[in-house]
């Protein structure tokens, strides 16, 4: 009798929890939640805490030191100068290519070829670019062979080497996202615009772009965050003591060469803050545009 009463009580607790949204399916979220807390939230909070415990001085000493030193402070601009143009160029390439690819029959094959660089990794891409764009690489050799230049162009170990690497590794990501957004627009909408007299350019500017802007904003944010974290290619293809001394190099230098993990954590926090400012600004601008369904019917 007691067992029956206990079983009934358990059932009623289970039903009560289910009514509040805590059922077996909801519990599936737990492993993911644990992983997010352990791998993202805890390290972030620890890093923030660590950054506020400098080797010497007040709690804000690391931040003050970073912003008062032009060599450190300028890493923000150096990183932005790489990440923003690379992201914009990637989007500028991704949009027209995605528009063409969505109409192609062999879409999967072409998509596979285009996203291949994503599988190579930044180090392999950097090695390839050193061989291709370097002073004795194919690119310079071909230009000299056809008499376009007489001395090799310097395209590696400077800004342009890192930029090229960011474009190559970032494009597949931007392309895939853009393709999914472009494919999500009801094709009948474009056909309707055409029958109403809109030429290709007008259809793009009046119909496609306004519908694509929200998706492009998200693509921009994700691509930008990826580019802003540039590290291996900034060292391998850039000038890590000069124009491509990006903020991640500054953080690495502080934490693992000066052994000042507190300063390293502070620089990482500044890096996160800059990314957050750009992302919030872009997503804020997205709110100015239409953000609803891209289909032509209520369904």
């Amino acid at each position: 009798m007691t067992d029956v009463a206990a079983a009934r009580s358990d059932r009623s607790v289970g039903k009560r929890l289910a009514a509040r949204g805590f059922d077996g399916t909801t519990l599936l979220v737990l492993p993911g939640l644990v992983a997010i807390i352990a791998l993202f939230i805890y390290p972030f909070l620890f890093g923030l805490y660590d950054s506020l415990r400098p080797k010497a001085g007040e709690w804000y000493a690391n931040y003050a030191a970073f912003f008062s030193d032009p060599f450190q402070r300028d890493t923000i601009w150096a990183t932005l100068l790489l990440a923003l143009p690379a992201t914009i160029v990637n989007l500028a390439f991704a949009v027209p290519i995605a528009f063409r690819v969505r109409l192609m029959r062999r879409q999967k094959l072409l998509t596979t070829i285009l996203v291949l660089p994503i599988t190579l990794g930044t180090v392999l891409v950097a090695d390839g670019l050193l061989n291709f764009l370097g002073p004795r690489g194919w690119f310079n050799r071909v230009l000299m062979l056809i008499d376009v230049i007489h001395t090799p162009l310097r395209l590696t170990n400077n800004y342009w080497g890192v930029f090229a690497s960011l474009v190559i590794t970032g494009f597949p990501f931007a392309f895939l996202l853009t393709l999914s957004y472009v494919s999500g627009i009801d094709p009948a909408i474009e056909q309707a615009a055409a029958t109403l007299g809109a030429r290709a350019r007008q259809r793009f500017t009046h119909i496609f772009m306004p519908l694509l802007v929200p998706g492009l904003a998200v693509t921009f944010c994700l691509s930008f965050v990826q580019a802003f974290a540039v590290f291996p290619s900034a060292i391998l293809l850039g000038a890590p003591a000069g124009p491509t001394r990006v903020i991640s190099i500054a953080a690495y230098h502080a934490a693992f060469e000066l052994y000042d993990h507190s300063l390293g954590a502070a620089i990482a926090m500044i890096m996160a803050a800059v990314q957050l400012i750009v992302v919030v600004a872009v997503l804020g601008a997205r709110a100015l545009f239409y953000r609803g369904s891209a289909s032509g019917t209520k369904g």
Binding site: A192, A193, T195, L196, G296, G299
Partner: protein
């Protein structure tokens, strides 16, 4: 909702369609790989005519419409409007209004901007465009909804925006691709009346694609029945309903009972066949010879069931009440399933005699399309 005559009277002259002349399709074909969606169709549509392209899914009716609109290139043949060849023009150069099955409204633009899109593309001055938009919205009773986005409207309202957007540019030809297929039954009936009223009001030529026989018969001046990329028959609704050219058209015109029979005797107009174990008389729609096989076509409403009359012996499988009469399914003695009408209800399994109306029974040669 305003009825048809009121709409026609209220229509402003500003929305009169531009003169377009006769539309001619000559040997129009469209292939997708090895599949011929359209196989050399010929069709002439007179100015101001309302033509319905009717047929089952995959018969080529939407392909034909898209070819006329310029959304699909032709594999062969030509299309002319008012004698001028148009099949090589881009859709934006044809100036036709099109209403899509999915409405294809621009979701980010207000109703007013949706309707005015075509006028903006024409570069029309704003004052004139505003006037035209207002007139078009009045015609479809959406004056109050001008500032809403399409997503804020009901399905029927969205459909009316799509119609207003298509007619506001005064197209010589309005193309409609199953525009009512996403609406519920009541709204379909209301919109059907509105579409016909708008057509009459603006005086444009309309080509309307549908797979709904009722819709085609009630709306169109002329119905074109299509099957497997060909035109099976074209004619007025009365012609098609009363005198379908072949059994495929007959099936689409509601002849649900189709059974094989052997011709016992025949003359130029009529024939007697033996089918389902009974002697049946009907109209020979094709020349028949005694002894050959024929296909008997009867509408359910023309096959009357009684408990003691003459006709095809059958057993009732199911029956349902539909207001004025009962309609049911019976199994003939040879196993053929037959759809019938009855003045009285029968229990399941009851023996009945199914008597077809001789002047409404159509006979075709067996094996013809």
């Amino acid at each position: 909702m305003t009825d048809a005559p009121a709409l026609a009277t209220a229509s402003p002259p500003i929305l009169d369609a531009q003169p377009g002349g006769q539309l001619e399709l000559r040997g129009v074909s469209r292939s997708f790989g090895t599949y011929n969606a359209l196989d050399g169709i010929d069709l002439t549509v007179e100015r101001g005519e309302f033509v319905a392209l009717l047929g089952p899914s995959g018969c080529g009716k939407s392909t034909a419409l898209n070819c006329i609109a310029g959304l699909l290139a032709l594999s062969a043949g030509e299309i002319r409007l008012g004698g001028k060849r148009i099949d090589q023009l881009q859709p934006e150069e044809r100036g036709f209004g099109m209403v899509f099955q999915s409405y294809a409204l621009f979701p980010h633009l207000t109703v007013r901007k949706n309707v005015g899109f075509g006028l903006a593309m024409q570069g029309m001055p704003r004052t004139e465009a505003d006037r035209r938009i207002k007139e078009a919205l009045a015609m479809v009773h959406l004056e109050e909804q001008g500032d809403k986005l399409p997503g804020q409207l009901s399905g029927g309202q969205q459909q009316r925006v799509a119609i207003a957007r298509a007619i506001v540019i005064r197209p010589p030809l309005v193309l409609m691709d199953e525009p009512l297929s996403n609406l519920d039954a009541k709204l379909r009936l209301e919109m059907r009346a509105e579409i016909r009223s708008i057509h009459d009001a603006i005086g444009s030529t309309t080509i309307y694609v549908t797979h709904d026989q009722d819709e085609a018969l009630s709306l169109a001046d002329r119905v074109v029945v299509m099957n497997t990329g060909h035109i099976s028959q074209a004619g007025t609704p009365e012609e098609l309903y009363e005198r379908p050219a072949n059994s495929a058209v007959a099936e689409f015109m509601g002849f649900r009972n189709r059974m094989a029979g052997r011709v016992l005797s025949a003359d130029a107009q009529r024939a007697v066949v033996e089918a389902c174990g009974a002697r049946l008389e009907g109209i020979a729609r094709q020349p028949l010879v005694a002894g050959e096989l024929a296909e008997v076509n009867i509408r359910p409403e023309d096959l009357l069931a009684s408990s003691d009359g003459q006709g095809i012996g059958a057993e009732v499988v199911s029956i349902e009440y539909r207001g004025r009469a009962f309609f049911g399914v019976a199994k003939a003695d040879d196993g053929t399933r037959l759809f019938f009408r009855s003045e009285q209800s029968f229990s399941r399994g009851a023996r009945v005699a199914l008597a077809p109306a001789a002047d409404r029974t159509l006979l075709f040669k067996a094996g013809t399309p």
